[in-house]
């Protein structure tokens, strides 16, 4: 279990986290928020990279951490890189080989174990990063923007990796990509301006937007009542997806997680 209590963090005069309080139990959590909302800072605080100015963080002993930017010595092979992390995580020598190969299997890199890190693509390096985070059966896995730089196939693989972790450790994925959260996470924590706006399931977010999302024909744009927020123009259907508390011309649409997310963010701005 991860307990974050009234955590504050500042860089110079700028307050980046303002009393963040969270209690995360078993499951996959998505830390969602726009750029600059404090996601990475919070992840780093939890991982122990940063020491918060105030508040407490209680984490399990074994943590797997994938930072936003991951790289390792190009001169090492994939296996050696994993062995290094295994040694750092004090995995017993006799168990190392199996565990390393297991983790590499999960990210489909077992056949590249002997390749040098310098010979891998950016996506593969990212997968090594995921693999190292899985090493040592961590009770808490922190992944900051885990799918950044991955192609669609690799994203799918990552989704499978996360699925396999269900029922095991607490997993926190930090991202600004709503789809990733929607497809991977059981719970969503919405962070904005260094504070937690809300936390709940994807359905909770969708429910928040229920009755407020409209599909308006593009030719009725001039009939839209202020205030409203244009989510997107759907060229294929010739409609506008609009978020509003007021009745709008057109039909009510089924809300998505993104609609709920936008409703919270817009509500703050």
């Amino acid at each position: 279990m991860l307990e974050v209590s009234h955590v504050e963090m500042r860089f110079g005069q700028k307050k980046v986290l303002r009393g963040v309080t969270l209690t995360l139990r078993q499951g996959v959590y998505g830390l969602l928020g726009p750029n600059g909302s404090g996601k990475t800072t919070l992840m780093r605080c939890i991982a122990g990279v940063y020491h918060p100015a105030a508040g407490t963080i209680r984490t399990p002993e074994r943590i797997g951490y994938l930072p936003q930017r991951f790289g390792m010595f190009k001169q090492l092979t994939v296996y050696e890189t994993m062995a290094y992390f295994a040694a750092l995580k004090q995995i017993p020598a006799r168990a190392q080989r199996n565990e390393i190969m297991e983790c590499l299997e999960q990210v489909h890199l077992a056949d590249r174990a002997k390749d040098r890190m310098g010979a891998l693509s950016g996506g593969m390096v990212r997968r090594v990063g995921i693999a190292q985070a899985l090493l040592g059966h961590p009770e808490l896995i922190l992944a900051d923007e885990p799918t950044a730089g991955l192609d669609p196939e690799e994203r799918l693989r990552f989704k499978n990796v996360i699925s396999n972790l269900r029922g095991g450790p607490t997993v926190v994925l930090s991202t600004h990509i709503v789809e990733d959260v929607e497809s991977n996470c059981d719970h969503i924590v919405l962070l904005y301006g260094g504070t937690v706006l809300t936390e709940g399931t994807a359905d909770d977010l969708r429910a928040r937007a229920a009755g407020k999302v409209y599909s308006v024909p593009a030719d009725k744009r001039c009939l839209l009542q202020q205030p409203y927020h244009l989510l997107r123009e759907e060229a294929e259907t010739g409609t506008l997806r609009v978020l509003s508390n007021l009745p709008q011309p057109g039909n009510l649409a089924a809300p998505t997680v993104e609609d709920g997310y936008m409703l919270y963010i817009r509500g703050r701005t």
Binding site: G48, Y65, G71, M72, L88
Partner: protein, 676 residues
């Protein structure tokens, strides 16, 4: 940690970017050593030159330290490690441990060069080999380690800033600042006082090691090198205090405290007798000249008493510290006049009852007041003796130098060079030197570093020196370069002296056989030495300046010692010396024209040309002077051919000895024999 070391080794050895430059550094080092080996260098010159390679080490290991330790940050892997307690700190020190064997190997190559030179020269003096090892540690290994730690400290900094800092450090730690600023002064303070804090590599390019003193390795130099190691390690630990935990913070604090102690010791180096062979105001190359320019010698005079006994208790650690008890021949004087080198500060003077006596210091003079008379004084003093060093590394206290109170007001400086004090009446000396070194003296030995006997003076030497016997004569000199002892033939020297006495009319005797011979260290020979110091003969021992000590040189310098060293007759004195030492020969051609020598009358020495302000005129005058000097040599040779060498030698010697010559040197030589 083992995992980290393994990773670090793989990273280093699998990448050419660090291995190739190391190979290059090693190759340059080896080539330089081979080149030095091929040259005709004495072991001590070889040592000095090879230690200059230390600057390479600082450069390479600083850059390698930076590149290796910052590599992970540049690749973006640092954050991942920072989430694992101790991982970053472990990897950083693994990088350092990876580079350390390479640093040790490179230093070992340099030491290997010394060892090969040592064995090739057939030396059998293990303390010198140990000295070489320590010198390599101080001037190659430790600066390299400092460079490595500096590079690691800059790990978080971008490449331009890191490289800039490293280059600045190289500049400061090398001899460049020394060569640029040593002679300068800013608001009365030498910039070297600041630059010294960064000066880690071997002393400057103009500098030569001394076979007796070796490479300067005084305590404060060790403190400086260790200070930087400790400070940089403490900075490194401090940077990773969060990663390493409380133990790391405590370790950083302890190292910092130790560094401060080293810094304090280094800051107090002004109290030490250091061999500083650069042009700084306080260094041995210029300090004495400046002092003598500012402090003209006072009234000289012999003492109206003599000393019956000296009891000298010396301590030579940072500097010389002496307690000299002097028993006098008479106790009815109110004031006793002594000479004690001005570099020694007299702390107190007490009489036999232990009561303080008043005294005054005026330059080298020490006048002690004893209103009720006193038979015995004890003078407590300490300080530095210019080029006559006395510290934990070496003791070079020749008996002609007043490192203890000598009776009378004596001249220690004349005509721009040091003078030797001789001719003092014999006294009983009891000397006790507290130093871990083995001290050699002209006095009979009574215990470890204890001597007692009746002599004119007490000479004390220690350092990289040893006593060797050849032909029944004891030679005290450095075993490194002992071959010069081979060229000394005392019996032949005595015979030659007899011949020269007959030729020139000199009446002094030169008794050498049966005396101990001390070969002076290069530092004394090369710095402010006048003819007076070249050959100093006492009843029981001789001091020979480190030169090619052939019978001719010994006799020539002994002969010249009695001559006034005024600049007006300097040119003729030089020609005379040259004739004595190597011979000038005859000139059967025409006698040089008197007018061609005119400039020598106008400017009796090359230094006198400095009076000419205009640069163009000065260059013209120098050219003219050089040509005239050659003509002057020719004139001497012509006179030899006309009058015979013996006649010229005799006449010139008498002329040079004359305290009030009525002719200038050019006219004298030209008119010699009445052949105008």
């Amino acid at each position: 940690m083992i995992g980290s070391i393994r990773v670090s080794n793989r990273v280093f050895y699998r990448g050419l970017s660090l291995v190739l430059p190391y190979g290059l550094v090693l190759a340059v080092t080896l080539m330089s050593l081979i080149r030095l080996t091929q040259g005709v260098l004495s072991p001590v010159d070889y040592l000095t030159d090879s230690l200059k390679l230390g600057e390479f080490g600082v450069l390479y290991f600083a850059l390698a330290g930076y590149e290796l330790t910052s590599m992970l940050r540049k690749l973006g892997g640092q954050e991942c490690l920072s989430a694992i307690p101790g991982a970053q700190c472990g990897l950083l020190f693994s990088h350092i441990l990876t580079l350390l064997p390479l640093l040790a190997a490179w230093s070992a190559v340099i030491f290997g060069g010394q060892a090969i030179c040592y064995f090739r020269q057939g030396l059998d003096y293990p303390p010198y080999l140990l000295h070489c090892l320590l010198a390599v540690i101080l001037y190659c290994l430790l600066p390299g380690l400092d460079g490595l730690l500096l590079g690691a400290c800059l790990e978080q900094v971008g490449r331009p800033a890191a490289y800039g800092t490293i280059m600045l450090a190289i500049l400061l730690s090398s001899s460049v600042c020394d060569e640029l600023f040593a002679g300068g002064s800013l608001f009365g303070v030498s910039p070297m006082a600041v630059f010294d804090w960064f000066y880690l590599t071997v002393p400057n390019g103009n500098w030569t090691a001394d076979a007796s003193y070796g490479v300067p390795m005084e305590l404060c130099r060790w403190c400086l090198a260790v200070f930087w190691c400790l400070v940089l390690t403490a900075v490194l630990l401090w940077q990773y205090r969060r990663d390493g935990g409380r133990a790391v913070s405590i370790a950083a604090a302890v190292l910092l405290a130790a560094a401060l102690l080293c810094a304090a010791r280094f800051a107090l180096r002004g109290e030490d007798d250091l061999l500083l062979k650069d042009s700084r105001p306080g260094g041995i190359l210029s300090s004495e000249y400046q002092y003598r320019a500012d402090h003209p010698t006072g009234d000289l005079g012999a003492a109206d008493f003599s000393v019956e006994e000296y009891d000298l208790k010396l301590t030579a650690k940072g500097a010389l510290k002496v307690s000299a008890t002097v028993k006098l021949s008479r106790d009815d004087l109110r004031e006793y006049r002594f000479t004690l080198y001005h570099g020694y500060e007299v702390l107190s003077v007490t009489d036999e009852r232990g009561e303080a006596l008043s005294f005054t210091r005026d330059g080298d003079f020490l006048d002690i007041s004893a209103p009720d008379g006193a038979k015995t004084f004890t003078v407590h003093y300490n300080g530095k003796g210019w080029k006559y060093i006395a510290n934990a590394q070496a003791i070079t206290l020749p008996g002609y130098f007043p490192y203890y109170p000598m009776p009378g007001h004596l001249a220690l400086w004349a005509d721009g060079s040091a003078q030797s004090v001789t001719g003092l009446p014999p006294a009983r000396f009891r000397v006790e030197a507290a130093t871990p070194q083995t001290v050699f003296s002209n006095l009979p030995k009574t215990g470890r570093n204890q001597f007692e006997g009746v002599a004119e003076t007490a000479t004390l030497y220690a350092g990289l020196i040893d006593e060797t016997e050849r032909g029944g004569v004891s030679y005290i000199c450095s075993p490194v370069g002992r071959e010069q002892v081979e060229s000394i033939d005392l019996e032949r020297t005595e015979r030659l002296w007899q011949e020269w006495c007959e030729t020139t009319g000199e009446t002094r005797t030169l008794d050498l056989v049966g005396k101990k011979v001390f070969i002076q260290p290069d530092t004394i020979s090369n710095c402010g030495k006048g003819d007076s110091e070249s050959v100093v003969v006492f009843d029981d021992h001789i001091l020979l300046a480190n030169m090619n000590s052939t019978p001719e040189t010994i006799c020539a310098y002994y002969l010249l010692k009695s001559l006034p060293s005024d600049a007006e007759r300097g040119l003729l004195r030089d020609v005379f010396r040259q004739d004595l030492v190597v011979g000038i020969g005859n000139w059967s051609g025409e006698k040089p024209d008197y007018d061609a020598l005119q400039i020598l009358r106008e400017y009796p020495s090359m230094n006198a040309l400095n009076e000419i302000g205009d640069e163009e005129q000065w260059f013209a005058a120098v050219e003219q002077y050089t040509s005239a000097s050659e003509q002057f040599h020719t004139l001497y040779a012509w006179q030899c051919s006309q009058l015979g060498r013996d006649t010229v030698l005799r006449e010139v010697y008498q002329y040079l000895k004359d305290s009030t010559p009525c002719q200038d040197q050019v006219t004298f030589l030209y008119d010699l024999g009445g052949a105008c």
